[in-house]
Symmetry: D2
């Protein structure tokens, strides 16, 4: 089963779902999961490259981004006793980190396919976070 359908099915099965646009929420949960994987893989692939010295900032930001996306995906998955203020602060921080990571990966996109793919995924996650922030306000 695709992850997207799974997240949606799980949210629909919750006895007490949060009041937020379901599709916007599902998209952000799924992009956070994809971005954690993408950033973990890009940090690891960059570490194996010959020009690893030039990829230090990329590796560091990918590791940060994986950690924050993981936490964000978990926070957004939880619907019980949802608190808008804490969700807003965290998703906002996640969006900023995705943007910083995308920007750095884009600098290496022409030389490294994994950076190109990861930059695209970070941009998708950044957009999904923006959509959640719009939906919360």
């Amino acid at each position: 089963m695709a992850l997207a359908s799974l997240s949606k099915e799980m949210l629909e099965a919750h006895p007490w779902p949060a009041q937020m646009d379901r599709d916007v929420l599902v998209r952000c949960i799924d992009e956070c999961g994809a971005c954690e994987t993408s950033c973990t893989a890009c940090a690891d692939a960059s570490l194996a490259e010959e020009d690893v010295v030039d990829l230090r900032k990329c590796i560091r930001l990918c590791l940060d981004c994986a950690d924050v996306c993981d936490a964000t995906g978990r926070l957004l998955t939880r619907q019980t006793e949802y608190v808008a203020a804490t969700a807003r602060a965290h998703v906002s921080s996640c969006r900023e980190l995705c943007a910083a990571c995308a920007e750095e990966c884009e600098r290496h996109a022409q030389h490294h396919e994994h950076c190109r793919i990861c930059a695209e995924e970070c941009r998708r996650c950044e957009e999904a976070c923006s959509a959640v922030l719009d939906a919360i306000s």
Copy 2:
């Protein structure tokens, strides 16, 4: 983009990929991500149920399973300087936890749709871990 294609694309872009069947590996990485989400959602939905007292073991195992699946997905995503022995020990532990969590969720599957869905996902992740263990040997 579906997570499955993303993981595969990232593995193919690695300069120094591990010697393991690519499809088996991708499947397990993706199921670990799906299972982390599913278990996080099931623990949270169970917490909101009226019969939460009967779901304590389900919640506890779901929280454990989410944590271990997250770590397993990250370990398997990394291809640089892959060590078979540590991968084997960790995937084996993950398989055992997925099985225990599935068994407990199955006990509540008739009463709670989220337990039914989560049990199925845990079984898929358990199978994906088994396939990785077969591929390593």
Copy 3:
């Protein structure tokens, strides 16, 4: 060895440390670790209480707080290619979540010792985050 000394020793052994007050940074890394443990334990102890139904919000916020403190501790531990803007956004989100979790745990502090201890730890982590934010500006 106490965790505090370990974090400090590791920061001092870094070839390229971030430009931030070392003691403020070490304190926040250590409080994030302590708060992750405290919140994980409080969520679990609350789940086992007879009045678990009244502790749903406490459990949910503790789970969130553990996840965000873990990510924050990791981000602050990394000194290579440190970016102040992303650190600021994330530590700010962590401080907000610690405050929300402390407030909820304080409501149950008279009935549950684990909530009292956890509330105190969340306040310490909130203060340590505030000190980092002051040090970054």
Copy 4:
């Protein structure tokens, strides 16, 4: 407050603690937290070293070890509906990874102080895991 006392206080405040030697359990929870921090810091410091190319295996194992120690610390912290079999499998995997990470860090201990400190921490965590495994049987 030192993390060690906090973990112990929280375990003692649990309404339904697991049947395991309290000191052995507290020590392992605390070492897992210390080892997650130590390995996160060592991976990051190694990335900044001039001989990063020779430290690839060290970085990879430190990242793995941080992830697994985090999951292990969480699993052991949870006392509600404790299941010995899953704890055993996971702590066993954690011990193996700590040993592998220690062995690699020891190879660089003479050149890099952070590897020396991290190797020692990994060995302490390995021993703490062994003590838990002895206590479970």
